[in-house]
């Protein structure tokens, strides 16, 4: 669970955040003014402050927000000047955009707001479609507009070059005002709601922001996305009535409440039209009581009516945004908010506490019960001068002409109740108004005093609390706000006050008390007294004396803190679901406290170092010495015996026709001659009525691979022989549980027989299958020996819990992983987890891990002259709903998640992010199946297809902890020599958006490091690797290679990128750098070695071809080379995705000679970067089987049986 925030505003307008791992509300200290409402997304929070302006708080991220400005410089050749800026009259501008139509000189670019700064000056782009250009960056063409090339030809008459400049959004973690459009916005905003991030992932970080103005108009903010967080402009949305409140869900749901109490639903929201097209009206749930508040999620709508009753709308989804009926729910609330995963938050009308709806799942969207969040607020008194200030100034919520949100008035009703019940209630309902604006804001932005009027908000307030209507009118005509700079805590305020006609907060007016206020010790009764006086003063100053103010001020003004009263909550940024373990509901919980401490320091958990534990460990060893060590010659009371575990299973028989047959399965375990345990596996089967058996020695088993699919619970057992055959023993258990029990038992037996226990060593080799299963192998000392290394197929692999797509390590024991959903994980030092429970697992350092991936199916259509495209194909055609190959029918209804571990978490949706592009409906066209597809229709196209995607989620456990918040697509860790004394370990990564990042603060003790340093690039990257001498190589998405110059411990991020041309006509996709060797893999499966790399010329000179049939390469600290080969032929079958080891790699022969084949059938990733142990230098002939290490080449083989047992991917 990534750490995220629940946002809330209390009745004083103070903004708080509650972390999903936290146990207290933390006040947003930056908020220099009070807020009415907030609406949160994952990466930012929007709010309406009491000055009615909209503010944006973008969460600080190590990944900076950079906007690339570009413009083109155009030149034409003439015989006199050569190329010059003298163009023909018909030509484009000298400085233009890419089309040439827009005039864009360098000095026409302005920063859009004060939240931006320039990162550097303009410079020329010298990269042209992945190829470096000549110095100067010019590209040439015959004429404008035309095809440009990087080489000047005899007929090149024009040239152009691209200039780039970056601007950076700097207003991180602070409330920055959105520049307003005075011309089009006649009245201030009263409600705001953001969402829509699931409508489309293009452009990245796109958000919909809806706002309601006091006059009941609705506005849509255009152009918000990651690089432009503020958006571009407000567009008015036409309405059937006047709106008081609006709610926008994460996807395409938008509902609003009308003044009259009906609801309106936005229809026609789509990828192409996030603003939607029209409104439909839905009546209030209750015929006589109007709706006052609505909250929508992905597939849910919650409504609160005027009587505080809560309603749930049945049957809401994308196709039917209006739903079908109302269900009355328990609880009385003043507002509700729906956050991520349709989780629901609410504020109770009775006690103003924030409630969380428990038990909301995709199958039970209405949840089970309301549960109050009872955590306290932070008590940092050193900050309380600020809160004292806001306490007073927050009066703006309850008086003044611009009415506070409905909830605010409601607070007053609580107040009255409270004062009737006795003391201890609220203070500030009618305290004076103070606006504290950001000091940088010019006075022009000061809200002007205006004639009060009844606005939508107050109207609703009256609806909500009828009994408060008198109060509302009483408040009308109060003092108007002004601007006070926060740091002018002085008498200046006194001077200003009368002329501005405003109220002062006591800190300004209570002159002699200033010192007390600035060093506040508010718990002292004396200062309370002082404050009371101050409030009186201020009340007098502005002629606002009211009994309420006085009496309430007599109370401890922080009484309110004891029972926080909330006005607004927003869960849009809070990633929880019904399974999240939150520590919000019981105030003190040691277990979770320990956990949160652990999460901060991954290496040593306090529980492990506790004195009591140490004592137990020490005393137990002392006991062993005392009671056993001196008596070893005594006879054991219990003789060791053979232990047999039996069971029934199915076996994928070795002979044709292959099929599952019932077998008896037995594991016999016994103690070996040296006390080590050993065992034999037996598979008893019938062969033509004859009883036969197959056996395997446990100490020969090299790996156990679970192969879950939707029909059978199977696993594969390999021995070196079976690896050579590419034909494992494949078994299926009756239930998943039985399979887990067997795998856990077999795994313990295998480890016992090899004397392996505890966590993997720092030298361990890690690998990952296409299913995301993680395996680890302890390298034997001779694994890199030359010329006779330990054969690869003898390596023993054991599974580690968790689910990853990529794992990278180094020899000091730092291991990073990346999930299918791009979440970054750090290895915690544990072992086991997942299906390895109990003894096969460490107790500490095992955590919950989740992963999400998409399942894709294709909808195929053929064109016919009469009806156009239809889902009726030719008899020879593929299925109209199929997998990517077209060979298997996959309909939306019958397609299941990949295995029982996975559950659906979304509905089927058209996937537009297909390579080759799509049209507006997601279709790709081609002449025929199967062919190359393109995203537009031509005359020659007779078939089309589109891809549908559905997300599924897996929850497991393993020795991994999340490294939030940036999603990654690649990571690399400095490979260290065996006796390395590196303190800070360089770690580089690529974000899933292609940003290059450098991790700071990584040491062996703090493997997760502290923060990311963003390294600028001109285009997105996809692969990165750092070598032992800090040489950083990377591959851009366009397939070109880059070398990062001057990376050193003193300058961890280096200084600039050197563009390295790719091998001819090849697009590179992955790079790995060892001690000195640099290897890359291209998109056609070729492995390349960089020739000519020297310390003085680290970029090298040329690429040399090493092998084909390669998917991935890992080069280690000894310059050892391991790959995942695409296809490897065995004696019985073929395996796709096979671990291979390059043989005869030596300093003078870094490319090696041939491949040795290891475990295979669905392997996707390997890293050998932890193994820095130099092999023993023995030159004797080895006893190992020569055939396994004899040179072979990787064959590409077709038409053979595929080892589908493990390669089903």
């Amino acid at each position: 669970m990534p750490v995220s925030l629940l946002w809330a505003v209390d009745v004083y307008g103070r903004v708080y955040g509650l972390s999903t791992v936290g146990q207290q509300w933390d006040q947003c200290r930056d908020a220099q003014m009070e807020f009415k409402r907030v609406t949160a997304a994952q990466e930012c929070c929007w709010g309406i402050a009491c000055d009615n302006n909209i503010y944006l708080n973008v969460h600080a991220s190590d990944l900076s927000i950079r906007y690339q400005e570009e413009t083109y410089e155009n030149q034409r050749w003439n015989p006199v000047d050569g190329f010059s800026e003298r163009l023909l009259p018909s030509d484009r501008w000298q400085w233009s955009d890419v089309t040439g139509l827009q005039h864009q000189p360098l000095d026409s670019f302005q920063l859009p707001s004060s939240s931006w700064e320039w990162e550097g000056d303009w410079y020329v782009d010298e990269n042209f479609e992945g190829e470096p250009t000549e110095k100067g960056g010019w590209t040439y063409a015959i004429d404008f507009p035309a095809t440009y090339t990087k080489d000047k030809k005899w007929n090149s008459c024009v040239r152009r070059r691209r200039w780039l400049r970056y601007r950076r959004y700097k207003a991180m973690d602070t409330w920055a005002k959105i520049p307003s459009q005075h011309t089009t916005l006649p009245d201030p905003f009263s409600d705001i709601s953001c969402g829509g991030w699931e409508i489309s992932e293009e452009p990245r970080g796109r958000l919909s922001l809806w706002a309601v103005s006091l006059q009941g108009k609705v506005w849509f903010r255009e152009g918000i996305y990651h690089q432009n967080p503020e958006g571009a402009s407000w567009e008015e949305v036409l309405l059937p009535g006047e709106v008081v409140q609006i709610s926008c869900g994460p996807a395409d749901l938008v509902w609003a409440v009308l003044w009259e109490g009906q609801l309106i639903v936005r229809e026609g929201i789509s990828r192409d039209c996030p603003k939607g097209a029209s409104w439909a009206i839905v009546e209030s749930p209750s015929s006589d009581v109007g709706a006052t508040h609505v909250a929508v999620g992905n597939n849910v709508v919650w409504v609160v009516t005027k009587d505080n009753k809560v309603w749930f709308r049945r049957g809401v989804n994308s196709h039917n945004p209006c739903g079908s009926g109302w269900i009355s729910m328990v609880g009385e609330m003043i507002m509700i908010n729906v956050g991520q995963n349709d989780q629901v938050w609410a504020i109770s009308s009775e006690d103003r506490a924030v409630y969380f709806r428990q038990g909301v799942t995709s199958s039970e969207l209405s949840g089970k019960t309301w549960k109050a969040i009872t955590v306290p607020r932070d008590r940092d008194r050193s900050q309380s001068s600020a809160s004292a200030n806001s306490l007073q100034s927050a009066g703006c919520f309850f008086c003044g002409e611009v009415r506070a949100p409905s909830v605010a008035s409601d607070a007053e009703s609580d107040l009255e109740k409270g004062s009737a019940d006795g003391p201890g209630c609220l203070v500030t309902s009618t305290s004076p108004d103070t606006f504290v604006d950001a000091p940088s804001d010019p006075p022009a932005d000061t809200p002007k005093p205006r004639i009060p009027k009844v606005t939508s908000d107050s109207f609703i307030s009256e609806l909500v609390s009828d009994r408060e209507s008198g109060k509302t009118s009483r408040d009308v005509g109060k003092a108007t706000p002004t601007v006070l700079e926060e740091d002018t805590i002085s008498h200046e305020g006194d001077a200003k006050a009368p002329c501005a006609g405003v109220a002062l907060s006591p800190s300004q007016s209570g002159g002699p008390l200033d010192t007390q206020w600035s060093n506040v010790d508010l718990e002292e009764a004396q200062s309370q007294q002082a404050q009371t006086g101050a409030v009186l003063d201020s009340a007098d100053t502005c002629s606002l004396s009211s009994v309420a103010t006085y009496t309430l001020a007599m109370e401890d003004p922080y009484g309110g803190d004891e029972h926080p009263l909330w006005a607004w909550v927003s869960g849009g940024g809070c990633s929880v679901d019904s399974h999240s373990q939150l520590s919000w509901f019981n105030s003190v919980n040691t277990a979770s406290l320990v956990q949160s401490v652990q999460s901060m320091s991954l290496s040593v958990s306090p529980a492990q170092t506790a004195a009591w534990r140490k004592q137990i460990f020490e005393q137990l060893s002392e006991r062993t010495r005392r009671e056993i060590d001196n008596f070893k010659h005594y006879e054991q009371a219990i003789e060791q015996s053979v232990w047999v575990k039996k069971g029934s299973m199915q076996w994928w028989r070795d002979w044709k026709p292959h099929k599952w047959i019932d077998v008896h399965f037995a594991l016999e375990q016994f103690s070996g001659p040296e006390g080590n345990k050993d065992g034999i596996l037996f598979i008893y089967y019938n062969y033509y009525e004859e009883k036969k058996y197959l056996h395997a020695f446990i100490n020969e088993v090299t790996i156990l691979v679970p192969v879950l699919n939707d029909s059978k619970h199977t696993f594969a057992i390999y021995t070196p022989e079976r690896t050579k055959q590419r034909w494992p023993i494949r078994l299926a258990a009756a239930t998943e549980l039985e399979m887990h029990d067997w795998l856990a038992l077999l795994s313990v037996s295998c480890c016992d027989s090899r004397g392996i226990q505890g966590p993997p060593s720092k030298q361990a080799i890690w690998s990952i299958t296409c299913k995301g299963d993680i395996f680890v192998s302890e390298p034997s000392p001779g694994i890199e020996a030359v010329p006779y290394p330990t054969p690869c197929d003898q390596m023993f692999w054991r599974q580690v819990g968790g689910h990853l797509r990529i794992v990278e390590c180094n020899s000091v024991g730092i291991v990073w992983g990346i999930g299918f959903d791009h979440t970054a994980w750090i290895y915690t030092g544990g072992y086991g987890g997942g299906l390895f429970q109990g003894l096969a697992s460490s107790t500490d350092n095992i955590y919950t891990q989740t992963d999400v991936k998409s399942v894709y199916i294709y909808e195929n259509q053929r064109w016919n002259p009469v009806t156009g495209y239809t889902n009726r194909g030719l008899p020879t055609d593929r299925y109209m709903w199929s997998d990517a190959s077209g060979l298997h029918e996959c309909t939306r209804a019958n397609t299941k998640p990949p295995s029982p571990q996975w559950t659906w978490v979304s509905e089927w949706a058209i996937d537009y992010s297909v390579s080759g592009g799509t049209d507006r409906e997601g279709w790709q066209y081609a002449a025929d199946f199967p062919a190359s597809y393109h995203g537009y229709k031509t005359m020659k196209d007779f078939v089309r297809r589109r891809r549908w995607a559905r997300k599924c989620k897996l929850t497991t456990t393993g020795p991994w902890q999340e490294v939030p918040p940036i999603a990654l697509s690649d990571v690399t860790i400095l490979p260290c020599a065996a006796q390395s004394t590196v303190d800070m370990v360089p770690v580089w990564a690529i974000s899933n958006k292609g940003d290059v990042l450098c991790r700071l603060g990584v040491t062996a003790l703090t493997p997760a490091g502290s923060s990311w340093l963003h390294v600028g690039t001109d285009q997105p990257f996809k692969s990165i690797s750092i070598g032992a001498a800090s040489q950083v190589w990377a591959i851009a998405r366009d397939g070109s290679a880059f070398y990062r110059g001057s990376v050193s411990p003193q300058n961890p991020a280096g200084d600039c990128w050197y563009h390295i041309p790719s091998p001819a006509k090849q697009k590179l996709k992955q790079v790995s750098v060892g001690r000195t060797s640099v290897f890359t893999v291209d998109e056609n499966g070729n492995l390349w070695y960089r020739q000519g790399v020297t310390p003085s010329y680290p970029q090298g000179s040329s690429w040399e071809h090493v092998s084909n049939n390669v998917r991935k390469v890992s080069v280690g600290p000894l310059d050892q080379v391991w790959i995942i080969a695409d296809k490897v032929q065995g004696s019985h079958s073929l395996s796709c995705g096979t671990v291979c080891h390059r043989l005869a790699v030596q300093p003078m022969q870094p490319k090696g000679q041939s491949w040795d084949y290891g475990i295979g059938g669905g392997w996707d990733h390997i890293t050998v970067r932890g193994n820095s142990v130099e092999p023993p230098h023995i030159r004797l002939p080895s006893l190992t089987d020569m055939s396994t290490s004899s040179p072979r080449s990787l064959l590409e083989v077709r038409n053979t049986e595929v080892d589908s047992g493990t390669s089903g991917c």
Binding site: Q581, N586, S587, V588, N589, T590, A591, V604, Q608, T609, A611, W612, R613, Q615, I616, F617, Q619, L620, S621, E622, R623, T624, R626, E627, I628, N630, F631, Y634, E635, Q636, A637, I638, Q640, S641, W643, K645, D741, A744, L745, V748, S749, D752, G758, Q837, G838, L839, S842, T843, D844
Partner: protein
């Protein structure tokens, strides 16, 4: 390298007490009976692991002189239904090793000991302890969900000293919902060396209503305050579990998970501090 908690389970399981069995002087023998030396598993039961002892002494005895075998240490008949480690810690913890046990074949002390005609009696006793413990820990939910063969696996694991076999099943009995922070109640028994009372066993939760983890000290304060040494006092009692003295601040839940006997009870012995 910091040891893992799993090692504690191993250490507990493989705890052995070197024992010297001698035949009671009063037994009629045909020739001199030699002492018999054995490493007894701390977590097992006397009558389960002494077949060899019986065989050894029967060789020198006439069949008609043999009744049910029983054991005695310094005049105290040893209850076979207490785990061996508990008997040792309770009666002999500060004595010289090997532990010297006297073997009897007549005058069975019916008032002090239960009869043990066969190992099925031990199995029944062992399984009923496990069930009682699970009733305390999980309202019997885990043990009731197990099949007959699973119960058998627990027993066979103990009987054959198969740690893996036993723990493959026992781990299920040690699970609990994370949000509750522990078992419902901790199955424990407190034994006193100098008392005729059998043992103390009451309901006690691992976590306080406020969510704080209770410790061994909290348990003793409640059940046996005298066992706790106050500041400035001479230490009068040792609190011994599996032959070691855990610190009083050790969390009770952790103890229950790691230092329970195979019967799933945490057996705590309170013995007087040796005077020397």
């Amino acid at each position: 390298i910091m040891a893992d908690d799993k090692d504690v389970l191993r250490d507990v399981w493989f705890g052995r007490i070197p024992t010297c069995f001698t035949l009671n002087q009063d037994e009629v023998t045909e020739r001199e009976a030699e002492a018999y030396y054995l490493l007894l598993p701390r977590v097992s039961y006397l009558t389960l692991v002494t077949d060899k002892v019986k065989k050894h002494f029967l060789k020198v005895m006439r069949t008609e002189d043999v009744e049910e075998m029983w054991f005695e240490y310094e005049g105290t008949p040893l209850k076979w239904h207490y785990p061996i480690g508990v008997l040792f810690d309770l009666h002999a913890s500060n004595s010289v090793l090997p532990w010297s046990i006297t073997v009897h074949f007549k005058n069975f002390p019916d008032r002090d000991l239960l009869h043990c005609p066969s190992s099925s009696v031990i199995e029944a006793h062992f399984m009923s302890s496990i069930k009682e413990a699970d009733a305390l820990k999980h309202k019997s939910q885990v043990v009731n969900d197990m099949q007959k063969k699973d119960h058998k696996q627990l027993w066979m694991g103990l009987q054959n000293d198969k740690f893996d076999q036993f723990w493959a099943m026992n781990r299920k009995l040690m699970e609990y919902p994370t949000e509750e922070g522990g078992f419902r109640y901790i199955p424990f028994r407190i034994y006193q060396a100098m008392s005729d009372r059998p043992f103390i066993q009451k309901l006690f939760r691992p976590v306080s209503p406020e969510g704080n983890a209770y410790t061994l000290g909290d348990l003793l304060k409640e059940m046996y305050p005298a066992a706790i040494t106050n500041d400035g006092e001479q230490k009068r009692y040792q609190v011994v579990i599996h032959g070691i003295e855990p610190l009083l601040e050790t969390p009770l839940q952790w103890l229950s998970e790691h230092l329970s006997h195979p019967d799933n009870f945490l057996h705590i012995c309170v013995v007087p501090t040796p005077s020397d």
